[in-house]
């Protein structure tokens, strides 16, 4: 009851409510623009949180995530182009419904399912996060170091199906994190005499550069997508009969979204497709899938909205982001000096309560705002891509300058953006690199702290059963991924030999 009273106080005395509503709108608008995923929408607004109080900053990022998941379904339904990967499964039946003149119904099912998924995901977040974080009270420096290594190993092995490239990206990220002043001895590392590098490289610059700028470079020269339906579309919320019909699909979406959100590297895309397949398998109207099935929209939209909250569980409990967007949220926490884990709940409980309260407000307001904001989203989807690119660049340079009032930062993110573009071309994933930058200091500081305690003896890691468990798990993940990658390469080679 104390927590409830504190949450209500936060709602009334802080700008949580306007921040939540404003960024719900931003998330929907950003998500509706193809090419701007939830992580990019969050990365674009991340610099603005620099000057805000921690509660507002976290709420802004979390509600942007929630809003963008619905926003991404708008172009998926209207112009067969998902606003982000997590809405790709919605295209199958959503666009088919639009072709049948039922676009409003499709958008209504997407919106309603998004609310269901968000509420369920928020409930899971509230119920599971604090108990899990209490496990971290047992952690010693060796445990934290091993946890960082495990987190990087999992993300490297699960993202993009190439462990080697994922590992390389993670290591490069950790190398970037070593730039600056060594926290223990005070000597400068890899600064090359540049005063701008003495304070190190802020993760936010890497996040915005890799996610936002590289995407703009990748889209350069691509043709416009064409306009959405000329007729005005209005959202039609599902009737009670339809709500009953899609109930099972939504339940499947909730479960798959929870499981995928808990797994580091899972993300909304996998949850959406998995739930679509399972909903089809268990549906009484299986033949309707692919031809404008309401369940075909309900399942993936419920799943990806559930992930928007459950991906925060491993982040808040252990500091391991479950998705790209959660990684951006971690960047937001670090900007304000907030470290995920049990201490976050003990020393900064208001931040957590604000996050819960803001997310609840945004979820409940989602229906009304989703209906009101649709014309703006449709207008934006129809804007010529060159103008959109220009405005996004303008947003980036304006936002980044707020951090240090430094043009150096702007130049730096463009350089990082180009590196990110090259990473895309050569198939290197982003998330391990971002995690390397974010978790690198955690791994190094706890590694050195551990050896300080043991007088330089690495055996201290073997004395901590939690650290041993994490390290064994990391080795298992790496070996399993190597074996899988090797086996896939062999199969490809045999297929080539046959053809």
């Amino acid at each position: 009851m104390d927590d409830l009273a504190r949450a209500l106080t936060l709602l009334v005395t802080t700008p949580v409510v306007p921040a939540a509503l404003a960024c719900l709108v931003w998330g929907m608008v950003g998500g509706a623009i193809p090419g701007i995923s939830s992580s990019i929408a969050m990365a674009l607004i991340l610099p603005l949180t620099f000057t805000m109080d921690p509660v507002s900053a976290v709420v802004i990022l979390a509600t942007t995530y929630i809003g963008s998941e619905y926003g991404a379904s708008i172009p998926a339904i209207l112009i067969r182009t998902p606003g982000s990967g997590s809405a790709a499964a919605t295209v199958v039946d959503g666009y088919e419904m639009k072709r049948q003149g039922r676009a409003g119904e499709a958008l209504g099912i997407s919106l309603w399912s998004g609310v269901i998924g968000s509420l369920f995901g928020l409930a899971m977040l509230i119920l599971m996060t604090e108990p899990l974080s209490r496990l971290a009270l047992l952690f010693r420096p060796t445990s934290y170091c091993a946890l960082g290594v495990l987190g990087l190993s999992i993300i490297a092995s699960l993202s993009d199906r190439s462990l080697l490239k994922g590992l390389a990206a993670a290591v490069v990220g950790m190398m970037v994190a070593t730039v600056g002043t060594d926290p223990i001895s005070g000597v400068s590392r890899f600064t090359f005499g540049l005063p701008e590098l003495l304070a190190g490289i802020k993760p936010i610059l890497v996040i915005v550069g890799l996610f936002a700028v590289s995407e703009l470079l990748r889209q350069s020269g691509m043709p416009d997508l064409g306009s959405a339906a000329a007729a005005v579309v209005r959202v039609r919320l599902p009737s009670f009969v339809t709500m009953r019909k899609i109930g099972k699909a939504q339940a499947i979406g909730c479960v798959t979204g929870t499981v995928e959100g808990l797994m580091p590297g899972g993300g909304g895309s996998i949850a959406a497709f998995f739930s679509y397949n399972e909903a089809k398998r268990w549906s009484r109207y299986r033949e309707e899938f692919g031809k404008g099935s309401a369940e075909g929209i309900a399942a993936p939209e419920t799943a990806n909205n559930t992930v928007a909250s459950t991906a925060l569980i491993p982040l808040l409990s252990f500091g391991i982001p479950g998705s790209n967007s959660a990684a951006v949220l971690l960047g937001g926490l670090l900007i304000h000096g907030l470290l995920p884990g049990p201490r976050l709940f003990e020393q900064n409980g208001d931040v957590i309560l604000g996050l819960y309260a803001g997310s609840l407000v945004a979820t409940l307001a989602q229906i009304a705002i989703g209906i009101i904001i649709l014309p703006l989203c449709m207008w934006l989807v129809n804007r010529p891509r060159p103008y959109l690119a220009g405005f996004i660049f303008a947003f980036i340079v304006s936002g980044i300058f707020t951090i240090n009032s430094s043009l150096w930062d702007i130049g730096f993110i463009f350089a990082v953006g180009f590196i990110g573009y090259l990473m895309r071309l050569t198939g290197f994933p982003f998330l391990p690199a971002v995690l390397g930058v974010v978790l690198g200091p955690l791994v190094e500081s706890n590694y050195r702290r551990s050896l300080l305690l043991s007088g330089g003896d690495h055996g201290i890691f073997l004395e901590d059963p939690i650290a041993v468990g994490f390290l064994i798990a990391a080795v298992i993940f790496v070996v399993w991924s190597l074996v899988r990658e090797f086996r896939d390469t062999q199969m490809e080679a045999r297929k080539d030999a046959v053809t």
Binding site: T51, L164, L167, A168, V171, V172, M174, M175, T178, D182, I184, S185, G186, V187, R189, F190, L216, L217, S220, G221, P384, R385, P386, Y387, A389, G390, F391, F393, A394, F395, V397, S398, F401, T402, S405, L407, I410, G411, F414, G417, F418, Y421, L422, L425, T426, G427, F428, V443, E444, R448, L451, L452, G455, G456, T489, E492, A493, D496, A497, T499
Partner: protein, 168 residues
Amino acid sequence: MPDRLQHRSGKFIAMNKDVLGGTILLALAGAYYWATLRIPDSSLSDEVGAQGLPRILALVLAGVAALIVLRGVMARKQAVSAAADLDDEKDALPRRALGLLAIAFGYVVVAPLVGYAVALALLIAAVAVYEGVALSWRVAAVAAGGAIVFWVLFVQLLGVEQPQSWLL
């Protein structure tokens, strides 16, 4: 091009990228390790030292990069060599991205000279024209209007300082 050749050509390009990417990473690992030799020692240092983890990272990266290169070289032997044409098509993309990057860096150069609003308008207009919009009064109007909106949002409403002009 028949599907099987398309498939093998695509694999050839992918494996070339592996060799290129791995080679760049090997060079990066070498340069990073060389830079660790320039990190000064300190009497305040701990058992590991400021150079400890960086050297481990350099060695791990070198090992991983070597494996990537090796995988790329081994896979190349199985691919068709007639992929040069496809490579030429792909080469246009990095040049295009570099052009856009040059415009973006142009903002960094121009902003201290003409100030935030003017530089922003120029950025929006330049990106729009580069991305395919014909140069016209409409572009200028959209760019100017957009710059004003951003100026109001960031400078007036959010109270955030933006680049000032040395000249104006």
